[in-house]
């Protein structure tokens, strides 16, 4: 059993997705429980894999169907993706638990089982993208995640289906570009296995085909991760989606794709290829650097809080690219830390937002005026997440940002450093504005009587535990950094 964990973590949600769908037809109430059990089990496997990686200190490799790579598909868990797997599955679990009531209201009784089937499919895709070490298999899993995302978004309010369609067109171009890039690599090497590719590509670095291949792959992934200026789909898609969808997608999807970029650029190619031979990542960093400023300004300009959060998501993903663009060890550590930390921060922000949205039925900033008296826990956790995004220590967001800053200083990337620091201020404006609105302004007392709804215990527990995570993760940054430092390719920097 233990030996099969790398495949089980992907196969289990996949199978359970169909099981949930089928049982849901005759027994709908089971859908939620099946989903939670599956997600919990995935989290359990992720924890076990994480521990196994710590104990064994090397890559756990799994050959599907017993076929040796490079012929068969290989799933591998190493120091890089063990962390991402754990964070992804844990946040998936917490979000599903949190949004139970919201799903019940938004989706309605008849379709909940379909919704949960899609949620599980989404988790399948995300975990699969993380664990696979086959570039084509990655494409398939990326599309599985994307398809379920299209579906999950389309059930939202008016305009959601149109936003989903636009997301889909963007996403298909992205996936196509990625596939094209994989094709180029395949022409050159005849292999699709990542470690095999690294070996075969080592004497092909002069080839223009290779450069074109990487360019297409990066283009595709940049669209999928909503890197500026290819982010156009994200604000619409995530802000028209049902609340329960955006709480699941916003923390996870873009960050997992960012992980894939790291995986491809630094473990399929030699790290110096995309950094120095052809400075693709630094160029991307410069564009994204401008982007995080633009996104910060856009976030301030929004009056809808979810939309504001969407722009913050884009800016935060940009930080990861900035960390990579620093091109050194510290920046890389910062980028990887930020993938994990940002998942938690965004999960907290979106979940807290969803809880308040459930109560107020409005996401407009004016509706949030003076609500902290009525919803102290929800507002406090939201603000906490915001402080973490701004980068106030001791919350975890500070530490990843700090490493990215150190990396940028060491690499002498002054422009990127300036953009990062400026965007910190822009984020501060966003969140302190909300703090001012919710806590330091007298609310209108008109809706006191109507909304008697209380936040349920499970929602409260999820919010509290996510906030606790922000502090705990900040405190254990040192251990995480020493864990991340064991990633093999960091030695090459």
């Amino acid at each position: 059993m233990k030996a099969h964990w790398p495949i089980l973590i992907v196969a289990l949600p996949l199978i359970m997705s169909f099981v949930t769908f089928m049982t849901g037809i005759c027994y709908r109430a089971a859908a939620y429980h099946l989903t939670v059990i599956t997600a919990a089990f995935s989290t359990f496997i992720a924890i076990c894999l994480f521990i196994q990686v710590i104990v064994e200190g090397m890559t756990i490799s799994y050959h599907i169907g017993g076929w040796e790579p490079p012929w068969g598909i290989e799933y591998a868990v190493d120091h890089l993706n063990a962390l991402v797997l754990l964070a992804t599955s844990l946040i998936g679990l917490l979000t599903i638990i949190h949004s139970r009531k919201i799903v019940a209201r938004e989706i309605g009784g008849e379709k909940t089982h379909i919704f949960y089937a899609l949620v599980l499919l989404q988790i399948t895709g995300l975990l699969g993208m993380t664990v696979t070490s086959d570039v084509f298999n990655l494409y398939v899993l990326l599309e599985i995640a994307s398809f379920s995302a299209y579906g999950l978004i389309a059930v939202g309010r008016k305009g959601a289906e149109f936003a989903a369609l636009r997301y889909m067109i963007f996403g298909t171009v992205g996936a196509g570009a990625y596939l094209l890039g994989v094709g180029y690599l395949y022409i050159l090497t005849g292999s699709l296995n990542m470690s095999d590719l690294l070996r075969l590509l080592s004497n092909l670095y002069g080839s223009p085909t290779l450069l074109a291949g990487l360019l297409f792959i990066l283009l595709g992934l940049a669209i999928k991760m909503a890197a500026f200026p290819l982010h156009g789909w994200l604000p619409d898609a995530y802000s028209q989606a049902p609340a329960s969808t955006s709480t699941l997608l916003a923390p996870l999807f873009t960050k997992v794709v960012a992980y894939v970029i790291i995986r491809i650029c630094f473990t399929v190619f030699h790290p110096s290829f995309a950094l120095h031979t052809y400075p693709l990542i630094p160029i991307m960093g410069a564009i994204v650097g401008v982007g995080i400023i633009v996104m910060g300004v856009m976030a301030i300009a929004q009056s809808d809080i979810r939309r504001m959060l969407c722009y913050i998501v884009i800016a935060e993903v940009g930080y990861i690219i900035l960390g990579l663009a620093a091109g050194n060890r510290l920046g890389m550590i910062g980028a990887i830390l930020h993938i994990v930390y940002d998942m938690f921060m965004m999960a907290l922000l979106f979940n807290a937002w969803a809880t308040i949205y459930e109560h107020l039925k409005s996401s407009h900033i004016s509706a949030w005026r003076g609500i902290s008296k009525k919803y102290p826990l929800e507002v406090a956790t939201f603000i906490l997440g915001g402080l973490s995004v701004i980068g106030i220590p001791p919350f975890c967001g500070f530490f990843s940002k700090w490493f990215i800053i150190l990396g940028l200083v060491e690499g002498g990337k002054w422009f990127l450093l300036a953009t990062l620091l400026l965007s910190t201020l822009l984020a501060a404006v966003c969140f302190f504005r909300i703090l001012e609105q919710t806590s330091l302004t007298h609310g209108s007392n008109t809706m006191d009587d109507r909304s008697e709804k209380k936040t349920s215990l499970s929602e409260g527990v999820v919010l509290a535990s996510l906030s606790a995570f922000l502090i705990i993760l900040g405190a254990v940054s040192g251990y995480l950094v020493s864990f991340i430092e064991k990633i093999p390719f960091l030695g090459a920097l």
Binding site: V409, L440, S477
Partner: protein, 498 residues
């Protein structure tokens, strides 16, 4: 040194946070219990810090390693003489002021007291954390906690004006924090460490320009909190906060934390030698001197008592920095003592201003004629505070200014000596009229009945006034401030000869 001693600084820092949690959990339902949490935690913190004095006086440094982030980057606490001075000052005054705060908030029936007391407690935790940090990273962490937790206090009134003041406060301080972040990153990249070391830790050989930029950046960062002109704008606006906040945070904890950080950077990161060779000390001294004079001139024009006190604070903060910039042991001793004396004196003045506001609802100096007859004890304490700040014996303010002037003479900087003296003169210009009018002018309403402030308000302000006098005669009374400051300045200038 017994092992549990290393836990003391940790306790001192975490108690306020625990207190804040308890305050929030208790909430509005049981105000008495809630207020007792404030008193208990402030007293506990005070005891924890006081019990560290003997070890530090023996020349030991108490270190407490929390967690390592990366090579050369730690979160750790260290209690040295300088840090202990600030920690003692904040915790002692916090305990005193917490009584005053309770009296003040209840008398005015302020809203949202739970949030107020919780934020207050967190802010104090931040201030004490700043004092006891062993390196810049830890210090930055507490510095930011202090910044953020003070924001709801500044905007406590929830009026548009208060919100504007809060925004201004945040804009200045968050903007400053970004510069600190940058400077810290530069420093770490150059030195591979952020630890404080008495007398400086940098090796600036061949990287002079880099270190000048870093210094400027530090200054723009910590200088905002220390209200060096032209970065002082937020402080007078922040006076809209309830008076206990102005008293403890905007006269002691927050702004002093800024000055404390500036001194840490000057004396424990750069050190006298580098400051001299990089030609930074003189340039900064000029800026600071302009602030000293400028703030006092503006203070004369202010009619609002709290505004006037705010500009006086700006003036005194810069005096402390100037003392350190003269780069000799005597003036540094004076600077550290002035940190203490200004803390005690200014808090007295603010508490008096608050008591007057509670009793009479008056904020303007021009309305305060004859108030000395109505509130004799309050105004007596006010007089002590004001005279102390001018530098008249027998009040501790004289002592610190005396050392500052001695230091200026020792390094033969007559110009800076003149600055100190002029500033004292200007202090007199705006403080003495208040006292004169209070006691010798007939009140407009004419009523000469004794309308003294409630006991809870009166006790703390009398206490600090009496302490200020006692400290003049016995500078080492209870807290050993002078010995600590002496030890700190000696350790900095050890092995350095002009």
């Amino acid at each position: 040194m017994p092992g549990y001693i290393t836990l003391l600084p940790l306790t001192a820092i975490f108690l306020p946070f625990v207190g804040a949690a308890l305050i929030i959990l208790t909430g509005e339902r049981k105000p008495n219990l809630r207020e007792s949490w404030t008193i208990v935690t402030s007293f506990g913190t005070f005891i924890a810090i006081t019990s560290l004095i003997p070890y530090v006086l023996n020349g030991q440094t108490v270190e407490c390693h929390i967690v390592e982030i990366y090579r050369g980057l730690h979160l750790k606490l260290k209690v040295d003489a300088f840090g202990l001075i600030f920690a003692l000052l904040s915790s002692a005054l916090w305990f005193i002021v917490s009584l005053y705060t309770i009296g003040y908030m209840r008398s005015l029936k302020e809203h949202n007291q739970t949030r107020f007391f919780a934020a207050f407690s967190i802010a104090m935790g931040g201030a004490i954390g700043v004092a006891l940090s062993a390196d810049l990273l830890t210090q930055y962490m507490f510095y930011e906690i202090l910044t953020v937790s003070t924001y709801p206090l500044v905007a406590h009134k929830e009026s548009p004006e208060a919100r504007r003041a809060g925004r201004k406060y945040l804009a200045y301080l968050m903007g400053g924090a970004v510069f600190i972040l940058f400077a810290m990153a530069m420093l770490y990249t150059c030195e591979g460490s952020l630890d404080f070391h008495p007398g400086g830790m940098i090796e600036q050989e061949g990287r002079g320009q880099l270190y000048r930029i870093t210094f400027l950046s530090f200054l723009l960062g910590f200088g905002t909190k220390a209200a060096i002109m032209p970065l002082h704008e937020w402080l007078p606006s922040a006076m809209i906060a309830p008076t206990p906040v102005s008293a403890l945070l905007h006269a002691v904890a927050v702004v002093k934390a800024g000055v404390f950080c500036v001194l840490r950077v000057l004396l424990y990161i750069y050190g006298p030698e580098s400051l001299k060779t990089l030609e930074l000390s003189f340039a900064l001294a000029l800026i600071v001197s302009l602030t000293i004079i400028g703030a006092n001139v503006i203070a004369i024009t202010q009619d609002n008592l709290k505004q006037r006190l705010a500009f006086s604070t700006i003036n005194n903060l810069s005096i402390i920095i100037l003392g350190a910039l003269l780069l000799n042991p005597v003036s540094t001793l004076g600077a550290m003592l002035h940190l203490v004396s200004h803390g005690f004196l200014k808090i007295t003045l603010f508490m008096c201003a608050g008591a007057i506001f509670v009793q009479e609802g008056k904020e303007m100096v021009s309305q305060m004629g004859g108030i000395g007859k109505k509130m004799p004890y309050t105004m007596a304490a006010f007089t002590v505070g004001a005279l102390g700040l001018i530098g008249i014996p027998p009040i501790i303010g004289f002592l610190s200014k005396w050392f500052l002037c001695l230091g200026a003479i020792e390094v033969q900087r007559t110009g800076f000596l003149l600055i100190f003296l002029t500033s004292a003169l200007l202090d007199a210009v705006y403080f003495l009229p208040i006292i004169y009018h209070a006691f010798f002018q007939r009140s407009v309403e004419g009523a000469n009945i004794n309308q003294e402030a409630p006991f809870l308000l009166l006790l703390p302000l009398m206490g600090t006034a009496i302490f200020s006098i006692v400290f003049f005669f016995f500078p080492n009374f209870l807290f050993h401030f002078q010995e600590l400051a002496d030890g700190a300045s000696k350790s900095i200038f050890e092995g350095w000869r002009k």
